[in-house]
Structure formats: structure tokens, C-alpha cells
């Protein structure tokens, strides 16, 4: 654990000079998006001005429900097309790229609703994950001589990963028979089969029991220690605080804050986004007094000037009502 916290602090140090503002420039960015907009009819689900993701760190993307996090994820991985904007991975624009090509170039995602291949065994799920396989070429597929050695290497790698993700006992079971948490593990392990540079995890902790959560946290950290970049969407604040080096906060499609976990959690804008600008917290006695006094003062003012501004506002209201009818 001490090694982990050590690397976390190095991670934080890399970004020491970076300002804690939305769209802040990072020293070594792996993923950049600018002016990314996605509308669904009248609703603008994503409207991101500028964002950069630092290489080799764990970046968390948080925000209240409906903030557009998953849509943003889909846009970045080309599972959805933006209405406008540009984004690039490792300096290469992804504007006209297909989702599968993005994955081949080293950016592999997982899904919020886990997508395991139910009627394939766990080990087959893993083998599918391996990148460029010559046995996937139609003409070579019929002759195992072309792909046997490759398959063996992939299987070894898959077994290692299954061992690491505690799934080795389930090796020959159908993936559909796994529990929700095990599916999350399998999906993450499968994503690693292709040796991605950037791993995008969409709510890796959703529906995972607390015991498994700890081991998942460890796995995510180990990804960073292997030199991979991790970007994940998460609701679990403990997880975000525990493992992320940098946090990006989205609300209503926009990025509203950025920074290290501690500073972001205390940010006024973030608290507003999560709880609403006018907090629904119980009022204190002093506040109640103040509000009451204000109301009384207003009432007194309107009584003093019966044909003042109040009156005209009232007639405006009536007119508006008529128009509405």
C-alpha cells in the first residue's frame, strides 16, 4: 500500500504546476478534446470546451446523474458521434475513426452495464480480447498451423490475468454464469488482453460488493503502476478519493471543475452541482429569522405604496397568464 500511495503522490507532483481550472493544460497529455458537443434533440448532453488527460495517471470523471459522463465516454471512444468538436488520442485525431479502430490504437473501454459474452466460457472471453490475431483472418482460420502458437501465447497471458483477477477457478464456466462483480472483473481483465495504453472504465464499482471493491481498487492502481493511463467514471466518492490522481467534474454536460481529489471535493462549484445551488439542507434558526424579516419588510413596503411597482408587476402577471391561455 505504501508503494501505491508513493506513486500517487508522484502522480500528484507531475501535475503540481497545473492550475485547478476546467480545461487546464497538462504537461504530457494522452487524450485531448475541444468544443465537443452532443445534442439529443433539444437537450445538449455534452458540451465540453476543452479537456486534457495526463498520461500515466488515474483520472476520475465524476458528476451527478445525467451529467453526460457516459455520453462523453461514448464520444471519446467513438461509440457515438458528436455534433461538433474535435478530439485526439496520442495526437491523432479520432474524428473519422471507427470504435474498433480506436480500440486497436490502444484505448480500450468497459461498459457501465457490463458486457460479457454470456455463452462463451471465461477463457474464451479472454482470448477474444487479444489484439491482432492472425487466426481471425478468414483464410488462415481454417488452418490451425497459422495460429496455434499465437493462441497458446494468448492463452498463457489470459491465464495470468485470470489468476490476477481471481477468476482462474471460473476458467471453464460460461461468462453468463458469473456474478455481477465477477463480470466487472472479467471485463476489466479482458480489456487488458490487448495491452491498452489508455483504459476507460465506465463505473467499474457499480454493483460490486465491498469485499470485491477493495481488490478492484488494487487492480485499477496496478494498471497505473504498469504505466497505463486510466480514465474512469464513478459515483463512489471513497473510490475517487482513494485512487485518483486527478478529478474532472461534469455537470449538465459541461466540465465545471478540475483538480486533485482533495481540492475538488471542497470546491464550491462541485458541491453546488451535486446538491443544487440552493442547498436543500435544513435552515438554521438565524436564517429562518432573516428570511422572515425580509418577507415582513417586503410586505410593509407594498402596503406603503399600493400603486407602486408591485401593482404593475401584478398586472403583468395577469397578462402573462392570458397569453399562456
Amino acid at each position: 500500500m505504501s508503494a501505491d500511495t508513493g506513486s500517487a503522490s508522484t502522480g500528484a507532483r507531475v501535475l503540481d504546476g497545473v492550475e485547478h481550472e476546467p480545461g487546464a493544460a497538462k504537461p504530457d497529455r494522452i487524450l485531448v478534446a475541444s468544443n465537443l458537443k452532443r445534442r439529443f434533440g433539444g437537450l445538449t448532453a455534452v458540451d465540453v470546451e476543452h479537456v486534457e488527460i495526463q498520461r500515466g495517471l488515474i483520472t476520475a470523471l465524476i458528476g451527478p446523474n445525467g451529467a453526460g459522463k457516459t455520453t462523453f465516454f461514448n464520444l471519446l471512444t467513438c461509440f457515438d458521434r458528436p455534433d461538433e468538436g474535435e478530439w485526439s488520442f496520442n495526437g491523432r485525431s479520432l474524428e473519422r475513426t471507427s470504435a474498433s479502430k480506436v480500440a486497436r490504437s490502444g484505448m480500450i473501454r468497459t461498459f457501465q452495464l457490463t458486457k460479457v459474452l454470456a455463452k462463451l466460457t471465461v477463457i474464451e472471453n479472454m482470448r477474444v480480447g487479444a489484439g491482432k490475431q492472425s487466426g481471425e483472418k478468414l483464410l488462415k482460420a481454417m488452418f490451425p498451423a497459422f495460429w496455434r502458437s499465437e493462441e497458446k501465447a494468448n492463452t498463457e497471458k489470459a491465464d495470468e490475468l485470470l489468476e490476477r483477477f481471481l477468476l482462474i477457478k471460473k476458467r471453464e464456466d460460461f461468462a453468463g454464469s458469473l456474478s455481477g462483480g465477477q463480470r466487472k472483473l472479467l471485463e476489466m481483465a479482458r480489456a487488458l488482453m490487448a495491452d491498452p495504453e489508455l483504459v476507460m472504465l465506465d463505473e467499474p464499482m457499480a454493483g460490486v460488493n465491498p469485499a470485491l471493491k477493495q481488490s478492484l481498487l488494487g487492480h485499477v492502481k496496478s494498471l497505473r503502476d504498469e504505466g497505463r493511463t486510466v480514465l474512469f467514471v464513478e459515483h463512489d466518492m471513497d473510490m475517487v478519493r482513494d485512487i485518483s490522481d486527478w478529478v474532472i467534474v461534469m455537470a449538465q454536460g459541461r466540465i465545471i471543475a478540475e483538480g486533485p481529489p482533495d481540492s475538488v471535493m471542497g470546491d464550491e462549484r462541485v458541491i453546488d452541482a451535486y446538491l443544487g445551488a440552493h442547498h436543500d439542507a435544513a435552515l438554521t434558526f438565524e436564517e429562518e429569522e432573516r428570511i422572515l424579516a425580509e418577507a415582513e419588510a417586503e410586505l410593509a413596503a407594498s402596503l406603503e405604496h399600493p400603486e407602486g411597482s408591485e401593482g404593475s408587476e401584478g398586472s403583468d402577471d395577469v397578462e402573462e397568464d392570458k397569453r399562456d391561455d
Binding site: 480500450i108 458486457k115 454470456a118 462463451l120 477474444v128 481454417m142
Partner: protein, 331 residues
């Protein structure tokens, strides 16, 4: 009731040329539906295009019949591309709609009077079978234990079962490979496969073409079996019978279509003979007041439908299917 006769006639059907044709068509559907999850409801269209291309070389251009095979292959691939290019990027249902419509369009077009000069309209085409008949090594009738086929039928069966064996071998080789694994994965979840960097569209297209080519073999065999070819051989129910064959045997199993075809044609024939014997002749088993012979001829389809329903309820994975797979909650 002559049960010996019923059994031998049904066996003739179960192993005969017609069963082979449906077996080949179902092998194609197995690649489409069983492995790749593509809903092709137009297998009859693939068969028809291939069958007519095959014989046209001989009947229209007076060339050697065997030159028709490469033409049939090319035309089938073109048809698969034509159907696949616009639909394979979309949800599975679109392919189903387009294929079922295309199969009908093809059948109506080929049987149209304006093309009767080439394709013989409703009557179809004959007179191309010479080269195939010449190769027939059998003469007289051939059979065993009371089951008999004509020499020509047996020749068609020989070629047919060899083709079935080769197709099964190809399917087995393909489906145990990483290529087949990707196909099965696409059936399970397209987006997951895409997220792993596979070009889903290309794999689906390859599957559509290969399954179509198996269907093409079925089309060519249809022409050889009957020594003629006509639009009525390729009605929509051909596709649905082929699906029935596939489901009886078990989808996504190499031998599913083979077992399915044999059982399907055995049942069709046995039920047909049983009801015609039971209602025919003097003093029938089932009196006219209950069922006339005309009504009886439809009974086999009613019973077959009932059987299919029971199969889907109690053994939805088919004869060869794996019970464990069904235990999995699909979504």
C-alpha cells in the same frame, strides 16, 4: 396400415436428395443465425440466385454446365454484398426484413413473363442435366433392407452427402478458430466485440457471404435433383423449413443441420404416409366423418408444428444443443 412400407418410404425421404438440400441450406443458416446471430430470412433467395446462375450458363449461353459453378459463386457473393452493405451496420432486424423481401423480389422477377425467354417464367428451365447424368456411375435401383432409391437419385445423394460432409468440415474448422470465436462473440454482444478492436461489420459480412455460399450449394443441388429449376422450388417456406431443420438439430452445432434435416424429412414423410393410409382405402382407420383424405394431407404440417412447439418448450436448444447454455440469463 403397412408400417414396414411407412418406415422404408420415410427413410428414403430422410436420407434422400430433398433432405440434403435442406441440410445444406440449414448449414448456411447455422453460420448466419447460429454462430453470427444474423437473421437471414431469405436463404431461398440465395438458393435461387445460385441455382439459376448455375443452369443459365448451359441453357442461355450453351456452355458447359460446370462453368455455372463459378458464376453461381460470384452471383451469390454479389447478392450477399448487396444485402449486407446497407443493413449490417444496423440492428439485426433490418437484415431480416431486407432478406425476406429480397427473396420474394428475386422470385417474382425471375418468374416474370418478360424474362421467360431466359428463365422460362413459371415453368422454369430444363435440359441442362446432361453432363451430370453422364457422370452417374449407378444404374437400376439401389438400396438396402427394403429402402430403395433410383440410380439417379442415389447419384445425387452421393454427391450431396459428400458436399454436406465437406461443408460440415469447413464449418467445424472455422468455428473452432479465433475467427469463429469472434463470430460467436458478435452474436452475444456486438458492442463488446467492437470495444475490443474487432471490425464487427467485416466479420458479419464474411459470415453472410459464407452462409450464403452454403445456401448456393443447396440451390445447385435443387437443380440437379429435379433436372429442372423453377420459381416454385424457392418459395418463402423453403427458408422457414430450413430454419425448422436448424432448430430441430440445434443451432450453433456443427451436426445440428444434418440431424435436423434427417429427422424433419422423416417426420414429414412418416406423418404424411400415416394419415393418407389411415384415411384412404376401404374401411379406413379414421372414418370419413372425422377426416377426409384431403384434410389428412394437411395433418402432417399441423403435427409438425405441434412438435416444433413442444421442442421449443421442452428442449429449445434442439437435439444437439447444450443445456448449460440455456441456463444462462441472456440479458
Amino acid at each position: 396400415m403397412d408400417f414396414g412400407n411407412l418406415l422404408s418410404l420415410s427413410l428414403e425421404q430422410a436420407l434422400g436428395p430433398t433432405a440434403i438440400i435442406y441440410c445444406l441450406a440449414a448449414i448456411g443458416l447455422n453460420v448466419h443465425f447460429g454462430y453470427a446471430g444474423l437473421l437471414n430470412f431469405g436463404q431461398a433467395g440465395f438458393m435461387m440466385v445460385a441455382g439459376y446462375s448455375f443452369v443459365s450458363v448451359a441453357t442461355i449461353w450453351d456452355l458447359n454446365l460446370w462453368l455455372g459453378i463459378p458464376l453461381a459463386v460470384v452471383m451469390t457473393v454479389l447478392l450477399a454484398l448487396l444485402l449486407g452493405v446497407p443493413t449490417l451496420r444496423l440492428r439485426a432486424d433490418y437484415l431480416a426484413i431486407v432478406t425476406i423481401a429480397a427473396a420474394e423480389v428475386i422470385r417474382q422477377t425471375i418468374s416474370a413473363a418478360s424474362f421467360s425467354e431466359y428463365f422460362g417464367g413459371q415453368d422454369g428451365v430444363t435440359g441442362f442435366i446432361g453432363p451430370f447424368r453422364e457422370l452417374n456411375p449407378y444404374s437400376g435401383s439401389i438400396g438396402f433392407a427394403g429402402v430403395n432409391w433410383s440410380g439417379y437419385d442415389f447419384w445425387v445423394m452421393t454427391v450431396g452427402w459428400v458436399l454436406v460432409a465437406v461443408c460440415c468440415l469447413i464449418v467445424w474448422l472455422l468455428m473452432r478458430s479465433p475467427w469463429g470465436r469472434v463470430l460467436k462473440s458478435i452474436r452475444e454482444d456486438e458492442d463488446a466485440v467492437r470495444s475490443l478492436g474487432k471490425n464487427v461489420y467485416a466479420f458479419k459480412m464474411q459470415a453472410l457471404v459464407i452462409g450464403g455460399l452454403f445456401g448456393a450449394l443447396a440451390g445447385c443441388m435443387t437443380a440437379l435433383r429435379s433436372a429442372s429449376i423453377g420459381p416454385s422450388f424457392f418459395a418463402t417456406d423453403v427458408t422457414f423449413f430450413a430454419y425448422t431443420v436448424l432448430l430441430i438439430g440445434g443451432a450453433a452445432r456443427v451436426f445440428g443441420p444434418v440431424v435436423g434435416a434427417v429427422i424433419f424429412w422423416f417426420l414429414i414423410s412418416a406423418l404424411g404416409i400415416f394419415f393418407s393410409q389411415a384415411t384412404g382405402g376401404a374401411d379406413p382407420l379414421i372414418p370419413d366423418s372425422i377426416m377426409t383424405p384431403t384434410q389428412a394431407s394437411l395433418m402432417r404440417f399441423i403435427f409438425l408444428g405441434l412438435g416444433l412447439m413442444l421442442l421449443m418448450i421442452y428442449r429449445p436448444q434442439g437435439i444437439f444443443g447444450d443445456r448449460r447454455e440455456l441456463a444462462i440469463d441472456v440479458r
